[in-house]
Symmetry: C2
Subunit: 455 residues, 2 copies
């Protein structure tokens, strides 16, 4: 790769589409993690599938690494720039090519902001279910790359569960269509499922056919409760699931998170509270479901239970959850983690996190999508450091190992990226690794697609 060959790409693409000004390219070098980026030769601001084809043909010819990128909100370093490569930003491909209320599908380009798709669907009484916490700022393309989850996925599933088909540009510039427009179909291997969660290492998604669902007919009803012990909160989670309440959201905030929120906003927290649960139901009989969940929370020992009776009250109760991340950001730089365990192991996992925090003297604040067993322990350290100091990594290492020991996984919804590759061997067997690298070789024989990430 030489400056001359980048010139060639600049000539092939519309003027101004390849940016080399370091002030600009630097802002495309990182996502929201602490992974040190390489120096990219340039950033391509693609506007169409053809721009992607042109870029990948050129990259194949010149053996240039390509890092696909959405909005850069990732939390695992999947979009970190690679030395001597180009960043291929898809954030300007924002067309909703089609939205069919009759078939409950949409065909969208990767740069569409997730919440924008959801809003477009709601104009037709539909919704796009996956709602990662970043969904007002992250793109569908990024969500597909990481198989993003979210709060609603306890009821509606993750991004893969809403993806029917893809248009992908392969490393050599060929265009592949996967999947279908129908809700069912079993012709051939599931290439769609393979691309979802592959973090840009197999090709560049330039459009997705996604499934929409009926939007709830009434605003959700919310219930919040404080628990004196982790075990009682976990039992309440299990009871809610076992009773078939089908919450559309079931979140847990640990003691450290609640204290951080209370210190900041004075929510009148009982100092004996070990955990708070916040649940919603968006069913047509949601108010009854919320009341049923409240009764179960009380039965399991909640010290304080509140049920919303208006949409405003529902918003107020969920408000505490929305403060969680900001309350931590005030205290320092945040390493946001993402382990997932079988739901029954939730109290053990939180206890392990608390023990690790004490042992390493690292403040760790945990919010969990409790209904899925998916925890986000946030490790807080001194602002201004280029990356987490060794004792934070040591604590994170313990947390990852504890999750795996409990039958869990390193990452529920953020992806492996660059950040977690060094723990990958703890979860993935040599046989599985060999097969994954074999698949990678089939799709990207030159190894130019987001090298060093995910697998």
């Amino acid at each position: 790769m030489t400056a001359t060959s980048l010139d060639a790409l600049q000539r092939l693409l519309p003027e101004g589409m390849v940016v080399t000004d370091p002030d600009v390219t630097d802002s495309y070098a990182r996502d929201r993690t602490f992974c040190a980026p390489g120096t990219a030769l340039g950033v391509v601001l693609a506007r169409s599938r053809e721009d992607v084809v042109t870029t990948l043909r050129w990259a194949s010819e010149h053996r240039v690494p390509v890092v696909p990128r959405g909005a850069g909100t990732g939390l695992a370093g999947g979009a970190t720039a690679v030395e001597g490569g180009v960043v291929l930003s898809l954030h300007k491909m924002t067309a909703i090519r089609e939205l069919s209320p009759a078939d409950e599908i949409a065909v969208v380009e990767p740069g569409v902001i997730t919440a924008d798709l959801d809003r477009a669907a709601r104009e037709h009484g539909l919704m796009y279910a996956p709602d990662p916490s970043s969904y007002e700022i992250s793109t569908i393309g990024g969500n597909l790359a990481t198989n993003a989850g979210g709060l609603r996925c306890v009821k509606y599933g993750v991004t893969r569960d809403s993806t029917l088909g893809l248009e992908v540009v392969l490393a050599d510039g060929r265009v592949l269509e996967t999947g279908r427009r129908t809700v069912k179909g079993v012709t051939g291997y599931d290439l769609t499922g393979l691309f979802v969660g592959s973090e840009g290492t197999l090709g560049v998604i330039t459009a997705a056919t996604v499934r929409l669902r009926r939007a709830p007919l009434v605003p959700p009803a919310t219930v919040a409760a404080e628990f004196p012990t982790l075990v009682s909160a976990a039992e309440a989670v299990a009871a809610v699931i076992a009773a078939g309440c089908q919450p559309s959201l079931l979140e847990l905030l640990d003691r450290a998170t609640l204290k951080a929120i209370d210190d900041w906003r004075n929510i009148g927290l009982d100092p004996d509270t070990a955990a708070m649960l916040i649940a919603q139901s968006d069913a047509s009989d949601g108010q009854a479901a919320a009341e049923r969940m409240a009764a179960l929370f009380e039965e399991k020992g909640a010290s304080f239970v509140a049920v919303s009776s208006t949409p405003e009250e529902a918003e107020e109760l969920i408000g505490v959850r929305r403060l969680a991340y900001q309350a931590k950001e005030r205290l320092g730089a945040c390493l946001v983690e993402d382990v997932c365990v079988p739901r029954s192991r939730l109290p053990e996992m939180i206890a392990a996190v608390e023990a690790t925090a004490a042992r390493h003297e690292v403040p760790i604040f945990t919010v969990a999508h409790a209904g899925d067993g998916n925890l986000h322990p946030v490790f807080v350290f001194e602002h201004g450091l280029a990356e987490p100091p060794p004792h934070v990594w040591a604590a994170a290492d313990e947390v990852f190992r504890a999750a795996l020991d409990l039958g869990g996984t390193l990452t529920g919804e953020h992806g492996v990226g660059l950040l977690k590759r060094r723990w990958l061997d703890l979860e993935t067997s040599p046989v599985a690794r060999e097969l994954q690298h074999g698949i990678k070789q089939v799709f990207d024989p030159l190894g130019i697609m987001n090298p060093g990430k995910a697998i």
Copy 2:
């Protein structure tokens, strides 16, 4: 491959596990299609993962094709014996290794009958959702191989949506674990999804970790209605979905099917009826949902609407659906097909089937999982023929092409097997085919796993 090498396998496995008696092996040579089998050297009746490992190591060493087989209820020839190969039957691996109500998962061996798993789950207030019509006689392994659907999948999704992880023996005898025990997880490529629906061409599944769901708390409420036109029935389907009624079953029977049932059992059919819809709701407010669906059916022009008010009445209304297949079998040999179209194209698809039936003078009877746009046109021809005569294939060809023209797929839930390979190129692009064969090569470089099937 020689008789000597089969002797070697017989010595490696417990006595009696390798069967070569042609009277027995013949009964393992076919599934429920008309695909002509090759002559297998023998049938292995595996009882454990170790038996599978032994068989595949031996098969790799001697380059012997292996056809994995469940209960042989497949409808696409996926389990058809291959000349000079062995059939590896998994139907004796019937252990439910684990059933965890707390985590709502089960770990099951491939020979477990699907309905048996569902019954085991119901003892704990849970259910196994996928319910192909064969579920009293088909196995989990076969369901996984074809990514089976069923009636309930309009609400609960297909087999893949209930599969969290797999234990697989690869072609060379190595054991691979895929996926996880958690409901979410994004570590590495989705090998689990790749195996589901791969029809035994990538390896042999020896256990699956499946997701269970809460069983409904009340018996389902059923509504049945007769419609004077296909379009009015299709509009009623759309209205039910658009109103958010969330049926747990939404079936359509066409005019030919209804007439066959009426001729046989005299159900008092109005001769002007073009289609019948049968819907169920298993929600906690299911009776209200059924009443709502009934009102929508009436609004869309149904000539006769009945809603169950007791479980017995619900069974009676669904009974007509259960008669559909037998009513056709009386009339001749049946080629059961499985196209799927976007839901909005359902009336056009049924009209295309009717036109084909008239043009080729082939009786075609269609039952559809209408909520999914998945149709099963059944082509009836003379009993006793070894395979469908040319005019039946010509009619089937037209139906497949019509489904693809309407944005649909060749197979919603039965698989490609041997039967539909000759139409595969109409749906799958050369690029996709090349990638699928590349993946096959990674998992099975010697090409011994169920050769000639699926891709």
